[in-house]
Amino acid sequence: MGYVAVKGGEKAIKHAISFYDKFLDFFENEGIDKKNFFVIQEILSESSLYSTNVTTNIFHKIGGDKFASSFFMRSFRSSCNNINGKRAIDVNKLRIIRKISSAFKNVPGGQILGPSLDYLVKVVGTLESVDNFNIESFPDTDIISDSILESFREKNLVKTLPKEEDPFDITKIFPEPPYKRSAVLQMMARGETGSLLAFAYTSMRGYGDVHPTIGDLRVGFAEIYLEHPFIGEEVKVCEILLTSCEILSKFEKQEDGRVKLTSGFGACFGFNETKAISMAIIDSALYNSSYTNNSQDIASNFDIIMNHIDSIESVGFANHYKLPHYVTFLSDLKVFENVLKGGN
């Protein structure tokens, strides 16, 4: 029963913290350096190329510069052939390692804390004293369960946007306004975590008004199928780690007069909870009307989001100022001198 499960908080926390370490060990065996696991997850998602080996390698070689690693990976991506067009992944089908909902005490499939340090008091030294637990006492069956928002959608309580028949592919064409939602979500999926977080935080704090309730936040493995080039059949080629987040926000009157709850969605490669939550908040700000009276928000501006979250672009440009600029600066000075002369 749900009631008992919630009261088991203390035990669940201990397991979540202890599992965290085991989880990192697992990936160490898979080739991802344990000490840099989470920064590598960020790079994976920003590269828009899922290769744990190459990412880890390049990250080590260049001394752990996150931005430069994403840059290397993105340029590596340009040299890879896209053999199979675009595929959609259903996040409801993820093999879950962590799934939480803050909207309800109990949700179908349960609250699965998985590996997490969210509930650890961050006092230096505490991590060493975490109790170990017997992982074998847990069932090893796959956990697959729907987002709680599905039940809301079935009852027609959530605003849904029209389904796109032919989703955009930002890796092939740079999107132009008015932007398709698939293009917006893709831009965010490879956007830089810090940038997304900053824009989302403006909305959370009052420049905008998205105060989300996390309906579903999950981390899990997705099976990737491709069409075999010779036999023409769908074949499973790999599994990738994904994070996705669905939030519920304020309700809103629709064009047909019905009042519905609004939602927001974010999903990206790797274990990136902050990024997925930020994406969902921005998605919600972009596609739903503002609740309060202020019009000074940033996160609901398509032009801002589409053009200011990509680290390859922003980091590249910020650093180009290190290039010599003596020609332009000299012409600036000439104008300045003229103005001074005229002013006197």
Binding site: V6, K7, E10, N106, L113, K122, K253, T292, N293, D297
Partner: protein, 276 residues
């Protein structure tokens, strides 16, 4: 480690802010807000108040969304226990100091009790004005016109305000205050409450207070009144209680069941029944 984690100067600063907050009910008092070993947004304001006022003989209770056993309550309780020598309890009436997130316990507070509420958005005016400097001026002039317009527009559009939790309240007929995200059900409990209620916003660095026996009223148009969440004809599936705030839980076979949100109240009713 220092008793109650914070250094003594920090505690002193927070106590001064608390005293000022009590002296001016509903007024937002800025404070330095130290970095805590829990993340911002997870109760750092509440925990700083608690740590600054907790005495060795206090009996401490902490709840999160009504529950003593939910994850963040457990984390913070363990943290308090590890840095003080206080006793902890789940029972509302046995505690002297209660920290809570999003709920006021069902059992009314007593005169010697202090309730510390964790606050995400201390300033209710953030709903209509994002700039802190401008909001301060608005409070100073008691210029709440934008908030009234927001309420009015909601009522025109939806016949009800969309403030569900964090419903704005007028404190002592003066400042308009954010009561923290408690449900509307808990708003009437603030009025003329016998205990001291302290509000702590760690991320936004504000402390405010509702002293005992202070008039607190929801912000409403006089011809419309105020409606709280109702749970008519619903009793707790576990203890049978009625007239309390309920959690809605859908069980594995799809049945909707209701349980007391205040788990210690639920235990209390259940114990009383078993004694009868």
């Amino acid at each position: 480690m220092t008793y109650a984690f914070l250094n003594e100067d920090s505690k002193k600063e927070i106590r001064r802010a608390i005293l000022k907050a009590i002296s001016i009910p509903g007024y937002l008092v800025p404070f330095a807000s130290r970095e805590m070993p829990v993340a911002r947004g997870w109760g750092t304001g509440g925990i700083q108040i608690t740590l600054s006022i907790i005495k060795e003989d206090d009996i401490f209770k902490i709840i999160d969304q009504g529950c003593d056993g939910s994850v963040n309550a457990v984390t913070l309780r363990n943290f308090i226990k590890s840095t003080t020598i206080v006793k902890t309890t789940f029972e509302t009436d046995k505690s002297t100091l209660i920290q809570s997130r999003h709920r006021i316990p069902e059992i009314p507070l007593k005169e010697n009790q202090i309730l510390v509420l964790q606050v995400p958005y201390p300033d209710v005016l953030v709903n209509v004005e994002p700039d802190y400097g401008k909001r301060k001026v608005m409070h100073a002039y008691r210029d709440y016109s934008k908030l009234w317009v927001l309420l009015y527009e909601d009522i025109v559009k939806y016949s009800i305000s969309r403030f569900a939790s964090s419903y704005p309240v007028v404190v002592n007929d003066y400042y308009i205050m954010d009561p923290s995200p408690i449900p509307k059900f808990d708003i009437p409990k603030l009025n003329k409450n016998r205990g001291l209620i302290l509000f702590g916003a760690g991320r936004e660095k504000m402390i405010y207070a509702v002293p005992p026996y202070t008039k607190v009223e929801p912000l409403v148009f006089e011809d419309l009144g105020f409606e709280v969440e109702t749970f008519n004809n619903i009793s707790c599936h576990r203890c049978g209680a009625t007239g309390v705030f309920m959690d809605e839980i859908v069980n594995e076979i799809g049945e909707k069941k209701y349980y007391c949100n205040d788990t210690s109240y639920c235990d209390l009713i259940l114990n009383r029944k078993s004694e009868e």
